[in-house]
Subunit: 113 residues, 2 copies
């Protein structure tokens, strides 16, 4: 992913929820992937309960995207959003060799002093 979002998410105090998405890209189809990833970030930002996103990918094609949400219900609604469902299907079929997704409740957080 990584779609023009600022690097660090500005988040409220915990508790809130994190979706940790780690994925290894397939080679190729970079243009469609990049445009879709950028659009998914835009769409996520419009979803109720969206708090922020952090995303990065190394030169080896392995990336981690963490999106933050105010509730489990918000995560479920985003999963079911129609364009996102279609992007997820393309992700499984074309863009990712493998991915892992973990949903977690953030209990505490701190930044660099």
């Amino acid at each position: 992913m990584s779609g023009g979002a600022p690097q660090f998410a500005k988040l409220p105090k915990p508790p809130y929820y994190a979706v940790i998405f780690s994925a290894l890209r397939t080679p190729g189809d970079g243009q469609n992937y990049g445009a879709t990833a950028a659009r998914m970030v835009e769409l996520a930002q419009q979803q109720p309960g969206y708090l922020g996103i952090e995303s990065t990918r190394g030169e080896d094609g392995f990336g981690i995207t963490v999106s933050y949400w105010d509730s489990e219900a918000a995560i479920l609604a985003w999963k079911q959003q129609l364009d996102h469902s279609e992007a997820r299907r393309q992700g499984r079929e074309r863009w990712y060799q493998h991915y892992e997704l973990r949903v977690a409740k953030v209990e505490r957080a701190y930044g660099m002093p």
Copy 2:
């Protein structure tokens, strides 16, 4: 970070804990940083309660490392490990422009079908 660990962590079924560490590197001092990061991954793997790690960094210097642990107590012990404390000090002083750290309880997880 990213220290020769395999890309995807093999984890047990939830619940377990995640430490989500996002950080923007300073330019330079790459050699000391790389060696220390690799050593920290080795050390973490020897800690009680360590489950796995996933880490990546983009060309812009922004990286996300997620380490997984079986309990909050394991995370606390790792935080207090002496060499890790020293590495964290150097991180704050030399290697990172900024970082954010979030501790979360993973409640559910699934991989690509």
